[in-house]
Amino acid sequence: MKWNVFLPYLLVTAGVTYLIRMLPLTIFRREIKSRFVRSFLAYIPYAVLGAMTFPDVFYSTGDLRTAVCGVAVAVLLAWRGRSLLTVAVAACCAVALAQGFLLLI
C-alpha cells in the first residue's frame, strides 16, 4: 500500500485507540452513574466481536466446508471454556484436517 495512503490510516487507528485508553486513566476519572450507559459499555465488546465473527469466519479459510469444521470445533471448545490459544489452535487443526480429508476423497 502506498505510504501517503497508509500513514493517515495508521495515525487515525493508533490515535483513536490510544485516546480511548488514555483519557479515562488521566482526565475522566469519575464513575459512570447511569445503569443504561454502564450496561451498554459492558455489552459492546460482545456485540462487536459477535458481528465481526459471523458470517466472516465462514469465509476465513477459502472453503466453506473446511470453515464449518473449524467453527464447529472452536464453538465446542470455547463453549466449554477452554483458553484462547487452545481454541484458536484447535480450530486451525480442524481446518487442516478437513482439507486433508477433502483431498483424499
Binding site: 451498554f40 456485540a47 469466519v57 480450530a91 487442516a96
Partner: protein
C-alpha cells in the same frame, strides 16, 4: 533488576506467547491484503489491539474515509475506556500522569485482566514489566507472519485464517453460556450482521459501518432489556 518489574515480566510472558500466535495470523493477512511487512509491523507496534487491527485492514484496502475508520475504531475499542476507568482505581502513587500516559498505550484486554486480578494496588515497575513482553510478542508475531507467512504452504495459510476468529469465539462464548444478557446481545449482533451480509441493499453498507451499527444497536438493545446485567457482564 527491580523485583516488581521482574514479577510484571513473569506475568506478561504467557500473554506475550498468546499474542505471538494471533499476531502471526494478522501479519499474514495484512500482507495478503497488500500491505508491506513494515506497514503491518507498524500497525501492531502502535495499535496493540486485535479486533481493531483486523477490522482496519478491509477499510484500508477499500479506501474508506478516515471518519469511517475513526468511528469503527471507536466502537470496537470502546471497551478499553471501561477497563481504563476501572484500572485507574487500582494504581498506586507511583503512577502519576506521565506514567499513566505511558501505560495507557498497553491497556489490552489480557493485560487489564492480569493487572486487575492482583492483590492491592499496582505500581509503575510492575505495570512496565507486564506490558513489555505482550508488546514484543504482538510486534514480533506480526513481523514473522508478514515476512514468513507467504513462505508457508497454501493449506497451512488457509488453516491459519480461522485462528483470529477462534480467539474471538473463546472470548464471547463462555460468558454467553453463563449469562443470558450476553447471550442475547451476541445473538442480536450476529443476526444483524447476517442481514447486512445477505440482504440486497443492506449488503452495500461498508464493513466499518456494519460493525458500528451492529455493535451499538445490539449493545443498546441489551442494555435496554437487561439494564442490571453490567456487573455480571
Amino acid at each position: 533488576m527491580n523485583k516488581a518489574f521482574r514479577r510484571g515480566i513473569r506475568h506478561g510472558v504467557p500473554i506475550g506467547l498468546g499474542y505471538l500466535s494471533v499476531s502471526f495470523a494478522f501479519g499474514m493477512k495484512a500482507v495478503g491484503d497488500g500491505l508491506t511487512v513494515l506497514q503491518a509491523v507498524l500497525i501492531s507496534m502502535t495499535n496493540l489491539t486485535s479486533a481493531g487491527q483486523i477490522a482496519a485492514l478491509p477499510l484500508m484496502v477499500s479506501g474508506a474515509s478516515l471518519a469511517e475508520m475513526a468511528l469503527t475504531q471507536l466502537t470496537i475499542n470502546l471497551r478499553y475506556a471501561l477497563m481504563s476507568l476501572s484500572l485507574g482505581r487500582k494504581l498506586d502513587e507511583t503512577m502519576g500522569t506521565p506514567q499513566r500516559l505511558i501505560f495507557s498505550f498497553a491497556n489490552t484486554d489480557e493485560i487489564f485482566a492480569v493487572a486487575s486480578s492482583q492483590q492491592g494496588k499496582v505500581g509503575k515497575f510492575y505495570l512496565y514489566g507486564l506490558m513489555l513482553t505482550p508488546w514484543i510478542g504482538w510486534s514480533l508475531g506480526t513481523l514473522l507472519g508478514a515476512a514468513a507467512g507467504t513462505l508457508l504452504p497454501a493449506f497451512v495459510r488457509s488453516a491459519l485464517g480461522i485462528a483470529i476468529y477462534g480467539m474471538f469465539l473463546a472470548i464471547i462464548l463462555p460468558p454467553a453460556r453463563k449469562r443470558r444478557p450476553v447471550r442475547f446481545v451476541v445473538l442480536a449482533a450476529v443476526a444483524m450482521s447476517l442481514c447486512f451480509r445477505y440482504i440486497p441493499g443492506l449488503n452495500t453498507v461498508s464493513s466499518g459501518f456494519v460493525i458500528i451499527i451492529c455493535g451499538v444497536a445490539a449493545a443498546a438493545l441489551g442494555a435496554w432489556r437487561f439494564p442490571a446485567g453490567e456487573d455480571a457482564a
